[in-house]
Assembly symmetry: C2
Homo-oligomer: 364 residues x 2
């Protein structure tokens, strides 16, 4: 039963918002592959990738293979000193993202970081101070909403009132650990813990779809259930929040995507409203050959299966560019980006440890 | 991608375990329609429905229309005084289920009640004492696992080790409120609250699939988000548990099934294991015409969509009959049935109230 009628038609795929050269940006620190999606997103919206910098020449070479027109900077400062550069995009080691952002902001640039944007409440406080003082942006690539067409379409549906008032947002974020991840990925001080890392996507989505500005973590838990060789890896995390408008949120994140799944994770989002619900099967409709991008909308009118593949696009990037040029906040407010990070860190800090035999684990 | 190979074949549909007259049982108190499923389940396993009793003649007549061979008792005692009756099945008002059970047990019968089996910790204590003293059974119709073929097939898969060690069990139990529910359904003292009522299914499933004997409620919340005309109705509930083997559990239950869904609820269960996961779409595969009974198994071997329609059956009922005849506990242990009830009541008692503007609601 597919959707019929214009009610469920997506808005047009966004066009580039600026022309060549109007929005030069740089990529600095390539520790996570998300930098590729970040640069592509900005390019697709009209941004011009001018510089790349990373201390590791191998990472730079790999990046240049994908973006051959980019200039290779010899230092961070060479990028910062270029007055043409309006925004610095970075995917540093998570614990170093705030430091990079503060330097970029001091250099007068807007900053666009991979999520999670920071790992400690001290970093958050410093980032809040710096953005408030300078007016510069510390934007975050919460890719699981802004760079996923199903998630963008869900946004449009919620905005149109298709499911009434949102009561709960629930996210499942399974990921495949695979092989070949760098050492920092397994050091908690560096990656920040699973609720800080993967969880940040989910806190952002809960606040966003519920239309909330604030929330309180009411429960959180982490575990290392099955990776004793990496004692600092949380391979499981969950958290509950209650938002300032009364809506609830729950997320489960983990590193247990089995080898037989044909993609990296069967990410889901369930949005429960007074008049209906939405389920996102973001990256696969499991055990079908239908690919990614599935939105299931059930409301008073019926059951609708919408496929958001190539017909929705990613309006975030154009809005971010215009926000930088016009000093607006249409892509995402600074406070929203920070609030999701704050909840992520708070959930991580408060988490009960479920690892069997861990200190304080098990039932009382 | 459907399953291939015998690994995922269900066990044979169970045959009746006894012949006509070997296991006479009675239906006493018909306040919830689940009594029909309970009686049919026992009949399908060979049980003989001998008596029905309810103080409301209209309920008795409706029941006789479905079970024309049943004898109508003039009182509860007429049933209890019949030495042939081995088991009393009942679906009383939830708060009255324990009282009926204690009377049945005192009369020397085994008892089989609709879930939730009780509403207070005092009732639970009395039921524990009575069953321990008499050796009689206080069995519970946790229908969302024992009377759902997808759930039974999941059980077989977990037992075969198809997903390794179970780490988390998660349940979504949306229900349609509809119209025409009796008054007691909206009185909290009688229905027990949503986590006690619908939630009991989920606590049972969490303990069962994880193979746990005990658990602790780590968080719970309820709300009346959108039914101000029924102030004692919880239309939303959620709870987290941690089990004695370290596995986690989460459930969300609600009364927000939208009118456009072609069945009463899009119930799901997600079972996360070290080597794979199972998703149950129990009552519908939303936005398809495929009907109920869907098991999605993803593990190291691939993505498998199994449909458990008519080829799995409900082994619980035959096991319960044999347990009664042979004084075994193969269908479900008494302690498991009680533990699920205990968690349900504890979660309800401890629940944070998320209703906006309710006393103590919102974020602190």
């Amino acid at each position: 039963m597919n959707a019929s009628g214009a009610n469920y038609a997506p808005e047009p795929v966004p066009d580039p918002v600026v022309g060549g050269g109007d929005f030069p940006f740089a990529a600095v620190r390539l520790d996570h592959g998300h930098i590729y999606g970040m640069a592509e997103g900005l390019q697709s919206a009209g941004g011009t990738l001018k510089w790349v910098y990373d201390p590791d020449p191998a990472k730079v070479e790999a990046f240049r293979a994908k973006f051959p027109d980019v200039r290779v900077a010899r230092s961070e400062d060479e990028v910062f000193d270029d007055d043409e550069v309006l925004l610095v995009a970075g995917a540093a080691v998570t614990s170093e993202r705030a430091g990079l952002g503060l330097r970029a902001i001091e250099a007068g640039k807007d900053y666009f970081t991979d999520k999670a944007p920071l790992t400690t409440l001290d970093q958050l406080a410093a980032a809040r101070v710096a953005t408030a003082r300078t007016g510069r942006k510390y934007a975050v690539y919460y890719s699981e909403r802004i760079h996923v067409e199903a998630a963008v379409l869900a946004d449009q549906l919620v905005e149109r009132g298709s499911i009434g008032r949102v009561l709960q947002v629930m996210g499942l974020g399974p990921h495949r650990l695979g092989t070949g991840r760098p050492d920092w990925f397994f050091e908690k001080e560096k990656y920040g813990g699973i609720l800080c890392d993967i969880g940040s996507h989910n806190f952002e989505q809960m606040l966003h779809y519920a239309g909330a500005k604030d929330a309180q973590v009411t429960h959180s838990a982490i575990a290392n259930y099955n990776h004793p060789d990496h004692p600092e890896l949380d391979d499981f995390g969950e958290a509950n929040i209650v938002m300032d408008n009364g809506a609830a949120g729950y997320c489960r994140v983990d590193w247990f995507t089995p080898d037989g799944l044909r993609t990296w994770g069967d990410g889901r989002t369930f949005i429960l409203g007074t008049e209906g619900y939405i389920e996102l099967r973001k990256y696969t409709n499991v055990a079908t050959d239908e690919g990614p991008g599935h939105v299931f909308l059930v409301n008073g009118e019926g059951e609708h299966h919408l496929v958001a593949k190539g017909n929705v696009g990613y309006p975030y990037f154009g809005r971010l560019i215009l926000d930088c040029l016009e000093r607006t906040e249409n892509a995402m407010t600074q406070e929203h980006a920070f609030k999701a990070a704050e909840l992520s860190v708070q959930a991580q800090l408060a988490a009960r440890v479920l690892t069997p035999d861990a200190e304080g684990a098990g039932i009382g």
